[in-house]
Amino acid sequence: MLGKPKWFTRRKYGGWGFCPKCWQGWVYLAAILTPFILLRYLPFGNDEFRWLAYSVWGGAVILDAIHIMANMEKDERERVHEALAERNALWAIIILLCVGVAYQASAGAASGEFGVDPVILVALFAGVAAKAATNIYLDHKN
């Protein structure tokens, strides 16, 4: 893996993910972005090669980001804060999705058609499944 978790800090106030907290993190960020810029502007290879290179490098970057996120050091207080913040964010998302489903269903009923976006329903069911799986795992663990 390229990046070290200690170079980054959890993004707390501006969404999800992480951001650099020292110069090594900024160098890493520049190093992973440079190939994308080179592939975009340097005149070598055909489109097929470019897309293959984008995919391979992009995949490596995603794997490295997952490794950084999973291994980022957090003490118990930070974990509690993160869990509460994520729970509140999820509640906001669920409420808005439910309002969206209700609006689409009522608008669909008025026009005589079933007009609920299936992606929203799948997202809600995925959330239910993830919650159930987490509770089953935790009940068995402790």
Partner: protein, 67 residues
């Protein structure tokens, strides 16, 4: 929860940063603990007790709600 972390720390002459490193937490967590704003897990309470050189956990932490 009431703690005597600051008292023990000052007696040892170590900084919040040094105690945080010894207990494996951040300095912000030590600040919250010293101000009584965060209740630590039993595991962290033991780690802090050891890092502060206290003999028993009750010397460092006390629960005011306890009758």
């Amino acid at each position: 929860m009431q703690t005597k972390i600051a008292k023990f720390r000052q007696k040892l002459g170590i900084t919040q940063e040094e105690l945080a490193r010894a207990a494996g937490v951040t300095r912000q967590t030590i600040i919250s603990l010293e101000r009584g704003r965060y209740n630590p897990s039993l595991q962290l309470a033991y780690r802090l007790t050891r890092a502060l050189g206290a003999g028993r956990i009750e010397e460092v932490f006390s629960d005011l709600d306890q009758p």
